[in-house]
Symmetry: D2
Subunit: 348 residues, 4 copies
């Protein structure tokens, strides 16, 4: 990849001219408007590509190659933190964002009740699976498009944007029609056909780290999405596979400072999938907040014992309310506010 | 899943009647013709499904539920070893089958030379990637359909069936038109959309274990393919991710006896991807043969230093020839013959 | 092991009689004085041991076997949290205890400066290695007994108890003469000769989890010490070995709630050894506090670049002071106070 | 460390003079008599040590520093394979050496029967634990010195040298009085006090890789022993801890070619501890032989179901006899003979 660095006082018209010049040559330009100047990544170009005509355009400061495999995701390319906006909620900004909901959308009543509880307690985004990746072909595979409809309706009623998983490139369009954030699950972190597909949509993507992906591989997977033209990516650490068996996966809390040192993308943690047991979730949620994560994703169910999937790690409603109450003062102490519980009785 | 066990003397017509009775009720029957009797797995049926009408059909011995998640892949369902046939080569039979070729198909000359060398040395199947899964979006991604054409032509000229990776459900049909065996790569072992897609074709599938997959998860992934109706599956262990860094991945040789104890499917090993360095490949290839694997997959290149990908772990032609010569007497000692080198000078 | 459960109103004399009765029979009694009643573990006894005479003693409620391998360390044996007292500091009580100091004691000036800084910033215990376990026999192995003398003198001058590692059973007595807490390093967590040796002294032991130990194995190692008669054990998670290479070891924060659910012993974390790089230490220290740990151990050095060992992960003095200032409000929010910085200018 | 390279025609007297010159200066010389010339490692010397007087001695070719941490164990220091001699058996020579016996010495009858069976089937060394490292302090800890006596007597009666574990520096002398090879167990691979202690004796040492030691760490541990003056070290890979749970530990067969490429020391594998289940042992034993190991260590018991420890992974007598018969032709095919079964009926 080559990078075109514009002069600090380059005009919008000059930037536009560079973008057009690249497109005319079948190179894909990715503009990054920083506070000081605009930098344009030119994908499909390498050191042998003659960009002397682009370098000669007005407003261009210099044209230079980027040698590292990590490019668009790196701090080198963009030093400012990226803030992802989904349905009015900012992820990666000052607020610590709690996403919560059931593992699977099961019934209208279930997802509606969850949405109301999430909103009432200060959660900001509703999660819920409609297409479920299951290790066994004989397990419950989700409600499909009907699940998407129920999830969206419940979110809208509670004033919450939604996040849900997409597993198949052919379903990206459908899921994008309903959800505010497209989730790529841990098993698909190196499914390049799928990464490319979500790189072409204009919806935020929540990319889960594989349970045995290195941080570098996670960033490379995000690079696929950014290289496709979609810069709205949230990274999510959800536990890695280790020899320890007392939890489902070992939550790699150190991924937060490591990723923050290398990339501008927001990072959230998923204590529920890591712990695998609900009694360990609050400690890990607090640790996530303290470690500097931009948010967490929590599994919650009206009656966890009856959940179709992942009930063992789901909080019930009172436990979720209590967790939110515990997070709030710590967020305040850290200068990282957690949204207040809603007091409007019409909503609870 | 339910299992319909036919009487030892059940006729083809009786078996056909059971299959039809299941299909009429939207249950998917999977017949398994053993040497003693036929057993029919009935997918989408569970203990609550009333199969009393099927149980009453002539030739039926008994109808019984299978409780375990592992079903069609298990020794419980089929005790005899499955032999997969691909272009005249039997994998899982008495012969130890060597698949070899370059990581990527690069040019006509390259793949043609490889095919001739594989055949000359006693290799039985030609491998070569046309669609390459790459960690970085900026690495060489393969020649695509042109690569498939070159691979098939080279294989045909050398009298070798071919195996190549398919990464996208939408490409399954295309790849199946060319290759004799469809490979599912390690990164896609839990890409359920892809597993289902290859479950619907009538070509053998080589399913690679993910570097992070347990053996149980590998068998579950295979179950997706068998449940889709395709029983021609070869399992491939290619190294797992551990803390050890002197090799690319740790070849889990114990996977061979473990899988053999649980499943009837053939198992091969891939010493090249595990070792990551060509000097360690021969020792691991010998260990694979001795451990009871049904074959190995070896990366080879005319000039490894110039390979587009994986050159560090590719054998050159003399090293491959020498490896084959080393394997042969050990195979003989184990009663597991390795095909002889061709003496026809027109081919070498 | 058998357990003798005393009646709630059993007298000290009655308890003493039970202890004597066990000792006379060469069984080792371990009394545990709870708030409600005393429970006595009888080591070397099993279900075949006839304890009917003990059961008949006045004040005894019942005698019952404990079947699990985890016994003295378990919540089953003692439900109340154990508080370990070392030189006036309570570990496992309400306060979050910060232990800090250099990896190795190098010179009198260095350890003295460190001790003053630890004390000035609110640290409560001084750490410093005199005997260093080194992967290579040619690396710096520590100052030995001279190091112990320097450490103790520096601690005393700053009003701080000390913790230091003991590596050899023959040195336990020497180290115990100087230090307030004996540290068993990660590499020695299954060195049973050493565990037994520290089980026989009357000094608190800080037992580090091996980078390869499961939590269950850590608790078993602690059981060796408790079974030896020493109940003053602090557990320390210091990062486990995983496939991730961006940090030295992956800090297993979930070990805190897991251990707390199984054992009554206090747990601290060591973010420095886990991170391996000083820039990641503060995030992990905050996560440790939030996850419910009873304290942390931090490496600090006047000039980290010149440290004999582990300089890359050591904080300098200003960074340590800042970390303490960051921890304090979070501790307050959690109801887990961190000691205030000393304002006495004579000390800073 | 510095290396003194002697001239090819240096005399024994000249070599002796160099050794004395080093010793007089408190440097420890480690002579390595190769087929072409003698090389002397000088421990405790570094680049600042003035060795110009030594360099000037007759017969000295050159004096040069070794910069790597791996020194005495490396191929760089000694290119020829080291052959370890124990009670008349050569490990690391042309023969593939099978060590076998029970996990623990239990009774005179048991160890005697095992010794006879090992010898009868072509095994060359008798193993048996007298001091057992056990995760739980309440498990069987071995018979101690009585176990050593029984082991040695049984070995002598069957004409087999013996190998047994030593866990405590203080017991090294005792164990060395009985056994022909001192085993350092996997849990003690970084117990530097113990490594140094066995470095001072003149008995071969079998050093087991820790279940989470890298190969580099294993070589470093061996370096401790060699630096102590004992060059008779056999390395043993016994399975590493991974995420896979179908076996006890994952046998890292690739450790064989990796170690052989870096070190001159002999390497054996322990399929029994790795597999954890006896049915997987033969496949792994064959793989060990084929991968180029110098031998294997096999657990065997007259009645595995009644073994005090590790019964699940122990072969019974007929299974061991069959394994040896399976190994023999493969060894022959590889040019790596396995000793013949004894036909002398007086012994079987």
């Amino acid at each position: 990849m080559m990078i075109v660095i514009m002069q600090p006082d380059a005009t919008v018209a000059q930037i536009g001219a560079v973008l057009r010049a690249c497109q005319e040559r079948d190179l894909r330009p990715v503009p990054n408007h920083g506070t000081e100047r605009t930098v344009i990544g030119v994908i499909h170009a390498d050191q042998r590509t003659d960009l002397s005509d682009v370098a000669a355009l007005p407003g261009v400061d210099q044209v230079t190659p980027v040698s590292k495999a990590l490019q668009l995701v790196s701090r080198e390319f963009r030093d400012e933190a990226t803030v992802v906006h989904a349905g009015g909620v900012a992820i990666g900004g000052p607020e610590f964002v709690v996403m919560a909901g059931p593992c699977s959308v099961e019934t209208e009543e279930q997802i509606h009740a969850c949405a109301q509880q999430v909103a009432a307690c200060g959660g900001r985004i509703l999660r819920g699976g409609a297409y479920k990746p299951r290790t066994s072909p004989y397990s419950f595979q989700g409600l499909g498009e009907e699940g998407l409809q129920l999830l969206t309706a419940a979110g809208r009623a509670a004033g919450l944007p939604t996040v849900t998983e997409v597993m198949h490139p052919d379903l990206v369009e459908t899921v994008a029609r309903y959800a505010d954030i497209l989730q790529i699950g841990a098993r698909n972190v190196q499914n390049y056909a799928l990464l490319s597909a979500v790189g072409r949509v204009r919806k935020p993507v929540l990319l889960k780290r594989g349970m045995m992906s290195t941080i570098e591989e996670l960033l490379m997977a995000a690079e696929y999405i950014l290289a496709g033209g979609n810069g709205q990516v949230i990274l999510c650490e959800r536990g890695i596979r280790t020899f320890e068996t007392s939890v489902r996966n070992t939550l790699d809390v150190s991924a937060v400072p490591v990723i923050k040192s290398q990339s501008h993308l927001p990072v959230i943690l998923d204590p529920s999938h890591a712990a695998g047991k609900r009694e360990f979730v609050p400690a890990l949620a607090l640790a996530s907040l303290a470690a500097g994560a931009d948010g967490i994703m929590i599994e919650m169910h009206p009656v966890p014992e009856e959940a179709y999937s992942d009930g063992r790690q789901s909080l019930d409603f009172p436990a979720f309310a209590q967790l939110m109450d515990t997070l709030r003062p710590v967020g305040e102490a850290l200068g990282r506010p957690v949204a207040a519980a809603r007091t409007d009785p019409s909503l609870t």
